[in-house]
Symmetry: C2
Subunit: 235 residues, 2 copies
DNA sequence: GAATAAATTACACGCTTGAATAATTTTGAA
DNA sequence: TTCAAAATTATTCAAGCGTGTAATTTATTC
């Protein structure tokens, strides 16, 4: 965690920092993306300056331009990396579910597969939470730019889940499934990135930091919602 | 909508705008708040400059300071005004429901009362949508400042709804009600401020602009979620 | 070992930002 | 009628912004 001593030169008497390519492997653009993600998640696109990021990543501001070209491009990179990761996992889990022998997947299983990648991220502590907050912010970020990004990240995987849900609940008409998917997404994002509303409402008795409890609570709620008005009511 | 002619002086031949107090009633801080709300909703706190607002409200930037003191204070004013409006309406509707003779309120009625104030705002077109987006953004805005604001705005009224829901669904334990309230809030905010995810997923066949359809879809989903695991399954 | 490419820093540029101040005009009360 | 308070604009300020450029150092390749 402590990214100390990037140059590792003990007795340099120079007052100013050494220029040029440092020995050893480069601190890499990775550092920049990592810190940028946390910063964008915490303060948003407009609220984060390149100098914030460059200081946090212990790197010269011009390096960001060198690697990413501009603030916008860096933002896209950050968002894409994390979004693709979630999407990839979701698709993998759904594939697994659908290839499995023994009849079509239960609705609980589908919802669980949809939530699992984000739940795992949430488990990673503050940095995971930051990533999720970043995702949650995407709804509203820099208008035009992000719209296309969102589409590219979420469209296909979400459609596959919509189809799977519809297969599990064939009584629902298509429009209803779309609407319920929107509601489902809103509910899980809000709950998983909750700052302290749960604590506030419950007078400190509940906390959204408990990921297992979160899944235990969220899955039945969402399945109940998805199944509303249908005959199916398992267990 | 067209906030033209704030001073109403037809034949002023001066090139530069006249200083000092203009005749007639003042364009009022109201103009400023109105435009500020739309701007903050569209681009967020950090993404909106005081000059954006002052230009949009056709007012000198210094007037904002004169009336509100600072950007932060203006933001609070904007948020408080709209938040209080929703809260007040919600409480009024719940009071009405609870004073009504004929047994305790049904869960559908409670959920409907909770959603109605925001649904009515959504009906007001783009400006209503802007107000809702502002509310949706509050989850993440300028960290420290907004946290306290959120508490002041939502805490009491939400607790009353939590209590009402618990009364309607006494089989649920308290913790479950808290969790489900969080999920409910997330679902409705996301759905009602949806940019074009619904359209995207449904290939243009559904749109979240239809407020009646939104309620028709949202209420059963949310009630289904709230009732999950209980025996009650009305109609 | 010389030359080239890669990685990094320092620094400067023009612009925008939130805030502050001073000047000006109008209103309304004495 | 006079005058203080209120409402408004013009202008200025220092700080911070994203970006661009040149200099510098290291690593790699021939």
């Amino acid at each position: 965690m402590t990214a100390q001593a990037p140059t590792m030169r003990p007795a340099s008497r120079r007052k100013t920092v050494r220029r040029g390519r440092p020995p050893g492997e480069s601190p890499t653009p990775r550092q920049i993306i990592d810190f940028a993600e946390a910063a964008f998640a915490a303060r948003g696109y407009a609220g984060t300056s390149l100098r914030d990021i460059s200081e946090g990543a212990r790197v010269n501001p011009a390096l960001i331009r060198y690697y990413f070209g501009s603030k916008e491009k860096l933002f896209c990179e950050v968002v894409l990396r994390r979004g693709r990761q979630v999407t990839r996992e979701r698709i993998r889990l759904l594939d697994e579910l659908e290839r499995r022998p023994g009849g079509p997947a239960e609705i609980e299983e589908i919802v669980h597969a949809f939530l699992r990648p984000v739940a795992e991220m949430r488990r990673e502590g503050p940095s995971g939470l930051a990533s999720l907050r970043l995702i949650a912010r995407l709804q509203s970020e820099p208008q035009a730019l992000i719209r296309e990004l969102r589409r590219r990240i979420w469209r296909d995987s979400t459609r596959r889940y919509i189809a799977a849900i519809h297969r599990a609940l064939p009584e629902l008409d298509a429009a209803t499934v779309y609407w319920r998917m929107i509601a489902l997404i809103g509910a899980y994002i809000y709950a998983i990135t909750d700052a302290n509303n749960l604590r506030l409402f419950s007078d400190g008795r509940c906390s959204s930091d408990d990921v297992d409890e979160l899944l235990r609570q969220l899955v039945p709620f969402l399945c109940g919602g998805l199944q509303a008005g249908t005959a199916s009511r398992p267990s």
